[in-house]
Symmetry: D2
Subunit: 304 residues, 4 copies
């Protein structure tokens, strides 16, 4: 199959959507991004890779980092994490306090904000320098030593993150946060600020297509079972309140971010990353969703 050609077709078929959707503008740094950027990278386990568009430009991966955070937590504490976070879809907007109160401070899954805050708290408890360890993990699996946090984004997130701070305080009240709230929130907002290119993102997600082994080095990062757990969670919980729609239209486990990025995998085969900043009403990249739908249809690859 000529993947390069298919990806170029996809790019030209989604081009008419330019101008549709709304860029995230709750912080200055996201609002200033060129809204018409489009990048699409595809990496196979056998080493083949294909690229279309702006795949060398770093963007704010935002919630996609929740997958890496969960990976680091599972590598360190394993399934004990599920004592404090559930594994079920949330069925509401991604930041609802109602469900958190109803369920006594136990987040529905690690990919909603409240769940990722608990993951952050777990990392703070079990690691000496979790901020350093997370970025090292990402550098290792992507092969890009220059990937880093953007401290300006982290500061802006913190200055406007009232809802996340509210949830963290509510969970602290339910005794589901161990560390000092300021420490947990500072680190959480750092985690939201990571910047990567489509190429780097596609390369790093090969980890989950490769059952937890770093495809660059063949080192085991997490167990096969943990990798499967993360993939299952991406499938059911990776797209805010659009997980069901994504499962149907794209049919791959994946994770999106409000920066307009989406990363997804076909287990045992490939990983891909797409970036386009304009979002649909559910907070997922509008052109990105369409690109992935076209790609899986044209290639006949889907888990269904």
């Amino acid at each position: 199959m000529n993947y390069q050609l298919i990806m170029e077709e996809v790019a030209s078929e989604v081009a008419p959507l330019k101008g549709k959707g709304k860029i995230a503008d709750y912080i200055h740094q996201l609002a200033m991004v060129d809204p018409d950027k489009f990048g699409f990278a595809l990496n196979f386990l056998d080493g083949a890779s294909f690229n279309v568009g702006d795949t060398d430009e770093r963007f704010s991966i935002q919630s996609i980092s929740k997958v890496f955070m969960l990976t680091l937590a599972m590598a360190n504490v394993g399934d004990d994490i599920w004592k404090r976070i559930d594994v079920e879809p949330s069925g509401n907007a991604f930041n609802s306090l109602i469900q958190l109160e109803y369920e006594k401070g136990i987040p529905r899954n690690p990919f909603i904000n409240s769940g990722a805050i608990v993951v952050t708290d777990i990392l703070l408890s079990c690691l000496t320098n979790p901020q350093e360890e997370l970025i090292q993990l990402i550098r290792n699996i992507s092969g890009s030593p220059t990937i880093d946090y953007n401290p300006y984004v982290a500061a802006s997130e913190k200055a406007t993150g009232y809802r996340n701070i509210a949830m963290a305080n509510l969970m602290k009240d339910f005794n589901n946060i161990e560390n000092k709230l300021d420490d947990v929130l500072d680190l959480y907002f750092q985690f939201c600020s990571i910047e990567m290119t489509c190429k780097e993102l596609a390369q790093s997600f090969l980890l989950y297509a490769n059952h937890g082994k770093n495809p660059l080095t063949n080192d085991k990062v997490i167990t096969k079972s943990h990798s499967k757990r993360i993939s299952a969670l991406m499938q059911t919980c990776g797209f805010y309140d659009e997980a069901g729609e994504f499962a149907f239209r794209v049919g791959l486990p994946g994770k999106s971010g409000v920066g307009g990025g989406i990363a997804a995998i076909l287990p045992e085969h490939y990983s891909l990353a797409v970036w386009s900043p304009r979002l649909n009403p559910n907070g997922n990249s509008l052109m990105g969703m369409k690109a992935l739908e076209l790609f899986t249809t044209k290639t006949g690859t889907s888990i269904f």
Copy 2:
């Protein structure tokens, strides 16, 4: 791979779980079933089939019929159904009124009770005799002309179905029910009362592994796109509040019922049905869940 042997291993490995879990007892007919029954049937698209245990005994498939109801509705009205039902996981217990009120009478998906009641209303509006047509559809795809409703079960369901009646009235208040409530509810409770064997269930679910074509006749029942939609919905919404756990442990699209049945598919390969009446706290068959987990692990088949 020796499937017969693997299934026998699975059966003997789950045997120690006998006596664990609780049979559904809200109606007489379910409470009287022998709680230690166990059946496991596997059908391949190429015609091969394998069986272990009580696979020739009919049981109440209960909510598994929601998959057939959706199939009949999509065959008749297509994607118009999504104007009145959403496609997202519910994130709550399967019969919650709160979400229904919060979302103005639009059920989260067609596999929770409220969603299936709207599907029933749609079938009443578009078909002359929906009760006859549904059972004919099931007879056709299973090849078993004697499959039928159990009117005693339907009557018992109706006599105790206060929550379902409450939801139907609430949706009527939100103008999401077109027909007379008594007609809708009578038909809905009939649909819950269908009885099938594991063999029949496995055979009929091949439809979804076969992209919507009846594997017995090769006739198209629904389009490939509709079949994929149903599979995606089973994946994300098929197991009450345990969809995420099932996705991880089993990794197949499927649907369970409180009668203790579970049907699932590996797209393009096989379908299977397991039956064991004792349920876990989430309302899914306890031995059935374990059996499917062991089977997909031993055979290395999972969508992840």
Copy 3:
């Protein structure tokens, strides 16, 4: 104090509000009422009475009948009623299912619809002919033997009362309804259909200003303690989601109905009834609320 003059002043001061607000139109019988009717009746315990406007015309008292229903229930089963209904304000719209589900089928108070449905169930259980007994009670305390139900209103209420039927089914599911649902609901909708004039309503509410004794006969209808309980409930729960506003602006215990009626009392002194069909956004008579505010201000009578 010249009450007649004050009431005429009030009537002329509220006259400019004619045309404001919206008549209840969910059933035909209410929608057809002349929206600009205005009646205001005042009765003192010493027998003096004053009237302005349309005080001899019967209108649908609707939810005001909940006060009489509670009176009949307390006369027959006393404080046992509080095992099945709470006495606290509801803090939500008057027909919310969410709170009912959250609080396991126990209504917040007897003046919201769910609470009145439980009161109806209690009356069905303890009386041979509750429909006859309620209307006799009202005839006795008002001195008007021709007061009656309007069967057309009851039928219309039933035909559109999906939300009330939903709540009744939910409470049945929580085992807080003893009798057959159809019987309970038929009787409840009858209770909603009573028609009275302002004069009759003012006369009958003297019961609560008179500590539970019929002011026409001096017979004890309910105990002083029960009368105080009912007054306290009218104070805190009598005006849907506007109880706090009414307590401030009017400062009397009272009860309103969507037919545009309001009845209220100054304990140990007087009772009054006002009727004007156009409602404010909270479902209370717009001119009626203003008339009562002006009257208590001009007469300097308020419980605060």
Copy 4:
């Protein structure tokens, strides 16, 4: 009437309740109070005053200070406060986040924590030194220049006040907090830490029995209308989720605190304060509630 004798009777009749109920122990300073303290003070507008028990010992008035906070806010910004806070009972536990989210950051009334936090924000915006002004107001109306904040209590409240911090952040997200959150919360926790005796509390609440005029000086503190508004709010919202029960059993507008204090008024007649640290399950003083019920029954004083 011999009030001194009646109050002594009340004290001896509630004495058998000693040992019942549970002292608030979420902060050290409350947990250390002698749980069997009991004080009861009564002040008439004509200057007469009566006391029983520990009426000269200061205790943490906690939420009772919300009445003074509202008084200071109304004195400064008048009815503009109602643009940001509602006046209706909450119908839930006093600190629920669910209602706050459902109603877009507008608290139900100024006597629940979220409402009092908005009042604090209003005071911060309109006054140069609100902390000083509030304590001066209380000193003026009580005639006790030594009343003060307890900084240790304020610090402990802040260290454990996760739920209040969560609510403040949620309201900030809804743009219903103008000032910096840390400033608002620091001041709010100070306001919770005021300590007064029963005598001082009874004297200061005469303000509301006196239609807003300081009874010691006859100076107008707030308008008659504002005083009536505050009394109406105490009547409908002053006792957490027990306002309806208090209205029936006691029948006076009042406000309680988790320190075990209750202050209440009979408009135009008297004010009273009772203190006993053990609380009932709704967070109100167990002996205090009973004492007030006995007192209003024995004296035949109640607004109903």
